[in-house]
Symmetry: C2
């Protein structure tokens, strides 16, 4: 079943059927109705592939998540984010193609993405700073939006949350609670979220005239286990609070703190970041930063479609605000 088929049955040409399908205004209402009736009766679905080849647009969006990101395997952040992307794709009549970028295939994949013409644009989540994929995309003029701002290139479209501001707010909150020896478990420093959350922590301390102690800054790589190990090391020094750059790391931190015989929050406060579903159910329930994860996914899709349909406009740089959710870990 194809356009020709529908055309014959409704007594018009293939061109007209195409126009009806694409909602072009230049069709009589009566003609339109006649054609639509046939389309519906036959439950006709135009062939996406042919449409793409002729029209130069596939209505398929790529979502790239670097696999190196170990988070993926344990952090509920991703499913929630992906859900936001998928819903928005559905709502805008697009499809989503997921790529988990494995290093071994990366080169071939970049090529596929950029040159094969399968997709109209790309969303890159949790990209590493200076990801070579970004350069490829720029070089080949394929529209893309980043989740997380780009530190240097101002012409790149992105959707992000205000990581620095919210981290600063966490530190501020802890300081107001009387904490003074605040440690932080950071994410990888080659990811913008890792970088910015650390910077916010530093800003927060300095605002209160405190000098950050490098020994209280340890890397947890956005993983539960990484954080657990980091906090074990940390506990040899006197600390009274921990800001973990993700809830998953906060969970690891709490585990380490309690195993060492300290109480949360009486001895050591623990604050996280993300507000994943689990955060409300840890013991004690986690104070954390709520970020609109699902909304970021949806906004990324909408921004990308906008860029595809309106090239040449100035870059969109969208920063969403967050919210400090105070529960019982302090």
């Amino acid at each position: 079943m194809n356009l020709e088929h529908i055309a014959k049955l409704s007594g018009v040409s293939r061109s007209t059927v195409s126009r009806v399908i694409n909602n072009e205004p230049s069709v009589t209402d009566t003609t339109r109705e006649r054609v639509l009736e046939v389309i519906q009766r036959l439950n006709f679905q135009p062939n996406v592939v042919a449409r793409s080849l002729a029209g130069g647009r596939t209505r398929v969006l790529g979502l790239v998540i670097p696999m190196g990101v170990a988070r993926l395997f344990t952090d509920p952040y991703f499913p929630i984010f992906i859900q936001g992307v998928t819903s928005a794709c559905n709502a805008h009549d697009h499809s989503m193609m997921l790529w988990l970028a494995e290093p071994e295939y990366e080169r071939r994949m970049i090529n596929q993405i950029v040159n094969a013409g399968l997709i109209d644009g790309v969303i890159i989540s949790s990209s590493l700073i200076d990801d070579s994929l970004i350069d490829s995309l720029i070089g080949d003029n394929l529209p893309f939006v980043l989740i997380g701002r780009h530190p240097t290139n101002a012409s790149i479209n992105y959707v992000d949350v205000d990581n620095r501001e919210s981290a600063r707010q966490v530190v501020n909150h802890l300081l107001r609670k009387g904490r003074r020896r605040i440690a932080t478990i950071t994410g990888p420093q080659n990811m913008i979220a890792g970088l910015d959350r650390l910077e916010g922590y530093l800003i927060g301390l300095r605002e209160w005239g405190l000098i950050p102690d490098p020994e209280l800054i340890v890397d947890g790589s956005f993983s539960e286990e990484g954080s657990y190990l980091a906090v074990n090391r940390l506990l040899s020094r006197p600390i009274d609070a921990i800001f973990a750059a993700s809830d998953t790391m906060a969970v690891g931190a709490i585990r380490a703190v309690r195993e060492a015989g300290y109480r949360v929050p009486e001895d050591i406060s623990v604050v996280g970041y993300d507000d994943i579903p689990l955060a409300a159910h840890t013991v004690p329930p986690l104070t954390t930063i709520r970020q609109p994860t699902q909304k970021m996914g949806a906004l990324a899709v909408e921004t990308l479609i906008d860029i595809i349909e309106n090239p040449g406009l100035p870059p969109r740089r969208i920063i969403l605000s967050t919210e400090l959710v105070i529960r019982e870990s302090d």
Copy 2:
């Protein structure tokens, strides 16, 4: 840049370039080398869309996960499974398209999947029993494989683990440890994994001549919270063990048990299913069934490609074995 372009530069016809790209044997080595040299020099990538339209095959596979499955948001099972699918797609030069099936869009989506010609086949994960998508797929002759066996239709291809046998094994293990009042937290009974794990539990009890007590069977809907609530209800009766049909539910069970003042495993054993990464790190570490989640994803892809390339062969029904991992929750 297209075939014509490459053809001109290497002094052959478009047809020959196509043959080289598709590795057809009927090309002289010298011709082949000449063409390949040009392709590599220009880093040429054939247009996937045109290829699909002409060849009738897109090399794109769809992965459908019903969103109703609340698990998705909290259960690490999915990222691991998706990772298996993606890797296998890469390895076999295919791409993967992810659909999270939202009820509201479902009808349109089925149409898209089945009729738009965008994909060569579909993998359905965690499908509900009697999912209407399955009927659509059968009706339209689109190749597909299920994760989880189909209870009635023997002609359907699937990859599954032996849920019944492994659940039976868990019960057997607990009975050998001297437990006699064994409760189970089940998954939804409209999912084959939920169904089969319950059945295995029943078989295990009966093997020892025990009569299952309906009051010890409660639904946890494959979620942490669902399980927590279910176990709260359960604790009014004297029980000495809980078999949770997923690790995520086991975590909820442990939480409820401990909050009620009982010890795990001294008072109540808790055994899970899945062996997610967290299972080794719960307090106490979880005894559970390890299933080859990633491998299931990869096998589903390979099976699907096989079906696409060799239609008409008898249905593949693949059952993978599992492993009881004994840790400290008993």
